[in-house]
Symmetry: C4
Subunit: 210 residues, 4 copies
Amino acid sequence: MAADFAGAAAQLVKIGRRFDARGWVLGTSGNFSVVVQPRPLRLAITRSGTHKGELTADDILDVDDAGTALGAGGGAPSAETRLHLEIVKARAAGAVLHTHSIWSTAMSDRHGAEGGVAIDGYEMLKGLAGVTTHEHREWIPILENDQDMTRLAARVRVTLLERPDCHAFLLRRHGLYTWGATVPEAVRHVEIVEFLLESVGRKEAASWPS
Amino acid sequence: MAADFAGAAAQLVKIGRRFDARGWVLGTSGNFSVVVQPRPLRLAITRSGTHKGELTADDILDVDDAGTALGAGGGAPSAETRLHLEIVKARAAGAVLHTHSIWSTAMSDRHGAEGGVAIDGYEMLKGLAGVTTHEHREWIPILENDQDMTRLAARVRVTLLERPDCHAFLLRRHGLYTWGATVPEAVRHVEIVEFLLESVGRKEAASWPS
Amino acid sequence: MAADFAGAAAQLVKIGRRFDARGWVLGTSGNFSVVVQPRPLRLAITRSGTHKGELTADDILDVDDAGTALGAGGGAPSAETRLHLEIVKARAAGAVLHTHSIWSTAMSDRHGAEGGVAIDGYEMLKGLAGVTTHEHREWIPILENDQDMTRLAARVRVTLLERPDCHAFLLRRHGLYTWGATVPEAVRHVEIVEFLLESVGRKEAASWPS
Amino acid sequence: MAADFAGAAAQLVKIGRRFDARGWVLGTSGNFSVVVQPRPLRLAITRSGTHKGELTADDILDVDDAGTALGAGGGAPSAETRLHLEIVKARAAGAVLHTHSIWSTAMSDRHGAEGGVAIDGYEMLKGLAGVTTHEHREWIPILENDQDMTRLAARVRVTLLERPDCHAFLLRRHGLYTWGATVPEAVRHVEIVEFLLESVGRKEAASWPS
């Protein structure tokens, strides 16, 4: 789970380019982090207000387990740093990635009132850590969006406790959070969940028989 | 707000490549400007009839506050230079960007009769300058398209006065105009409004319950 | 209208890369030509069976006004060379481009029985040569597809005579043909007509009120 | 059909980049193989669990006709190696490609209960080996997905026997398998079938009259 800070920053810069090419981090949306040291916890996380397709190593900040930036560089860490910290603690994650795509936003809206969306029967589910068959039912919780980060972080903590098996959650009209033991696993989870949400979303939009 | 002309031109060339990759400036559509000097006003603006994905520095013209090209280079500034000037004056903008995407065109058509489209509840709204919560209602005015630039410029002026809080407007079946205090802010506004229009457009097209 | 052969070939290679990136020439679909000499007519045209995203100069053949390949290189010119020749003669075109996109195919199918599709009111129409206002009605004829090139070429000839103002036509379930006095004009026409067909197609598919 | 292993590996790396750019191999989905020697059969095939957009030559394994990896490198060949072997044997294929796109997944789901999807009348069909006219009806079988590779391989074998003319098949909610005598032919088949599935899928989703 440990990684050197410069290496972690380079990985996040690359992820930003990839996700920007797919249109998943438009504007200055999205935020990414990597655990660089587990105890005491140190996180490399994207600076607030940056365009994720144009990140440089200077846009990656070093924060502690209270979300305080430690380095000499200016700027504040992502406003959603506390959500990253909750996920890292609850899941022993090595990386946390938040994307803000058209389809994750659409599905978070459409299924928000139900509190989540269930996806089953897709081969792509096997790419989620620990899942070995398409005959798996993944519940992706959807949380109401909130500008009060203390309240939202608490809701994230409760959700992760209540749903110990979930690999991702959505914030309503806001997008996707997922994570992994390693950076590649977290990237894989983003691609898989984005694929699944678009697949189910297009199917529902088509008004085909389910 | 001031910037040197060569630097401004380089920024517009880069923006053209990015927006072309997203399919937002097909044909020779779209036009971009940057304020290079506020008083007397000097604008770096794209030449009329150029492909925005293939701009070179020679395609950026230096115009005054009447829209007259000043440099030695040939060609005419964008036919919509007057709209840029109205926006710069009304909003003290440092950059104005016009894109012509599938979704901004579709939404300008679908909601044209209502005179605008309201978008609220999306986290992405927070990327608009001065907006601090997703609990914000953005009204994007839609103006009838017009080949008479004097008339259209006057209508833009009135709209910007009547809607002092709007961050963008649409021309019907023509596309999106937005702006920012700086070039990065204007780019961010394009990406955010394009995202929001596609999100709302896909939702409406799907005939899901709103 | 004249251009040297090597320059023409380089332009077609570049167009192939651009259109492939947009998904408009999947498989080995699409074909492109440039007039390199008007009288006697000489055409640089893509070789049959090539992937347009991976063209090299060797894939561009030199053909005469009967569609016979003149150079030393192997392979046959595009099976649709006769359609290019009809267009060059009827329109005094300097370049002819055929794309095979999802939306041009879909619209050629949906409106095939009506023999064409009318598009009006879009600003993007102004990018078509000679059109000066969005208040223009463009009729895009749709021809039944045919493997008999003699018969299909004759039908193209008749259509171009009957519709002297049209800037493009569709072959049913086959895609788009357009042209221009120059290569950049033909490219612009492709991008504009593809944009318009997708715009109208998405609108119709959405079952919004027209 | 024979090719040297290093050359085959380089081709698969390149295919991975191309298909990743189109979003057809998200997560670690997809797998590709090339026959490097027909008798005894040797296959170059992608390693299990790799991201296809980031393949290196080390991710391509050398397997025999029982699917056993022969080289010194670590890791296991694709879990679906047996399906590749069935296809190579039944069709004398030189390359087998499996993509996992949104549209192939959607169509495999929508038409799964019918056991396949028929596509006819499209010019793009002519790009399938041996097809010379758009007046061709291609039946694309859809097989139920299965984690038991022995059972699934047997079902693939039967399907290929029963449908000697088919150029591709789908696994339900899993994606597309196609092949070719050569690598370029297999790539062409992927692009053509993906195009056709998206074309038919969008048409059906639009609830236009067929």
